[in-house]
């Protein structure tokens, strides 16, 4: 079981736990404000944009080319931007902290 923490734009801290699935699904299940996940995780809506906490960036890794294209036109994009639908719980480090991008 991994612990993953989301920080919303209102600075609400939501600590979640999961073994599998995507981080978008996890956020939606835990009603994290600002993460809609409209397209269900196929990288078409960009409503699950997060900023990865800097210290975890290398462990999480950067976006794929298609994901990066989606992010290119998104507001509030940073060097640590990812779409949480493209991040799998199984592939991210325990204790990960993410900030919701809107």
């Amino acid at each position: 079981m991994k612990t993953i923490t989301f920080i919303t734009s209102d600075n609400d801290i939501i600590e979640t736990q999961a073994n599998f699935g995507s981080l978008m699904e996890l956020a939606v299940k835990n009603k994290v404000k600002g993460i809609d996940g409209d397209c269900g995780g196929v990288c078409s809506c960009a409503t699950c944009h997060v900023h990865v906490n800097q210290e975890f960036w290398n462990a999480v890794g950067g976006p794929s080319e298609l994901e990066s294209d989606m992010l290119e036109f998104d507001d509030n994009v940073s060097d640590y931007s990812r779409l949480s639908c493209q991040l799998k719980v199984s592939q991210v480090p325990d204790g990960l902290i993410l900030k919701v991008a809107k």
Binding site: D38, C39, G40, G41, C43, S44, C45, L66, E67, F73
Partner: protein, 386 residues
């Protein structure tokens, strides 16, 4: 050839120059065809405007001659756009609520059961139009019976047999909405009209004209698009019975299947913008006050983004389609539309063994340089129980 197939008429132009041109009522449109260019233009609202002085001009075909009410929030640019969008967004997210989904499931169950009992049905008018109209009562939060009137209007509100834009028919809708607004003023309830009439933006109550603008968009934006999405979905599963079985066996692919059908069928071909300043797209000069369009249907077949773009791959995982548009003005009704498709697919897999198309009349859009099939004028289908 399978009846459900939709070709990509834009391929050559997209690959050679990146744009096409069409004459729309003597107001030409430069059609942007590539995925990245389409998204770039959609993102750049300062140069490619939605909120110009001429109301209805960004729609292709243009509605300048049949409409003088500004559609909201669609024909408003930032920063004002945000106030309107923030106001209506929670209402249009209601399809995520369980109670809404239960009612939508009832509506869809009744129509699918009727198709199975009758054995054969004309899907555009008897299935898709009914489903769209009945589902719209949920989105507006008004009594179900109201849908009878909209169904009686037929599939086209703006279009008659001989013309793409019919002012008299459009007036039927506008007069109807005016009357409903007056009714809501006299007797407020918990419907969308009343909710908007009771709302404020920047300390000012919404005017009747603003309320009308939101409602026209709600009626017009979700009519032929939803009808096409439903009809094309039925056609696809009629042509590909193994795909229905695949979803029965692997329901975890339901979501990616919906997004893929949206990509492939792209129910809305394009949407326009007015150019605010002299600029260029795809190394092609476009003058201030001319029009461009973002061709979602072409972008969704861009082989630089989608592998095997002309095939329906139901479990396509990464699918950055633009069937609901992109950026600031992305489709407000997308949550409702997705929920309709989700429940429709669920119901079909639970109840329908197979379907066959017995007659079809294609709906082909004439876009000058291009002809694009967007769906069907009529589609006769035989339905068989599971």
């Amino acid at each position: 050839m399978k009846k459900s197939k939709i070709d990509d008429p834009f391929k050559e132009a997209r690959e050679t120059k990146g744009f096409g041109t069409m004459n729309d009522q003597n107001d030409p449109v430069t059609m942007i065809l590539g995925h990245k260019d389409v998204r770039k233009c959609a993102h750049n609202w300062k140069t490619f405007q939605s909120g110009g002085d001429e109301i209805g001009r960004i729609v292709v075909p243009s509605e300048v001659h049949i409409r003088d009410t500004r559609q909201i929030p669609f024909e408003v640019d930032p920063p004002q756009h945000k106030s309107y969008r923030d106001l209506v967004e929670p209402w249009f997210k209601r399809p995520l609520e369980e109670a809404y989904q239960e009612k939508l499931t009832d509506i869809i169950n009744i129509i699918v059961d009727e198709a199975l009992t009758k054995g054969s049905m004309e899907v555009v008018s008897e299935f898709a139009l009914k489903l769209q109209s009945r589902a719209l009562t949920l989105l507006l939060n008004i009594p179900f019976e109201e849908s009878e009137l909209w169904i009686s209007w037929g599939t086209h509100v703006f279009r008659s047999e001989d013309t793409a834009l019919d002012g008299d028919k459009a007036n039927v809708l506008y007069d109807y909405i005016d009357a409903q607004i007056d009714k809501a003023i006299a007797n407020p309830g918990d419907d969308l009209y009343s909710k908007l009439l009771a709302s404020e933006i920047d300390g000012k109550t919404l005017t009747k004209e603003e309320v009308k603008g939101v409602l026209i968009l709600t009626f017009a934006g979700g009519r032929d698009t939803v009808i096409n999405a439903i009809t094309n979905t039925i056609a696809y599963f009629a042509d590909n019975p193994q795909a229905l079985q695949q979803l029965r066996d692997q329901p975890e692919h339901l979501n990616s299947a919906i997004e893929e059908l949206l990509r492939y069928y792209s129910p809305l071909t394009q949407m326009g913008r007015v150019v605010a300043e002299d600029t260029q797209v795809c190394e092609h000069a476009v003058k201030a006050q001319s029009r461009i369009s973002m061709c979602w249907a072409s972008a969704n077949r861009d082989e630089r983004v989608f592998e095997n773009p002309n095939e329906v791959v139901l479990d396509r995982k990464v699918n950055p389609h633009v069937a609901f548009g992109f950026g600031t003005h992305n489709c407000l009704g997308a949550t409702h539309a997705r929920q309709i498709l989700r429940i429709l697919l669920n119901t079909l897999t639970q109840k329908v063994g197979c379907m066959q198309i017995t007659a079809a009349k294609e709906n082909i859009e004439d876009l000058d340089e291009f002809n694009r099939k967007v769906g069907f004028d009529s589609l006769q289908v035989a339905f068989h129980k599971l």
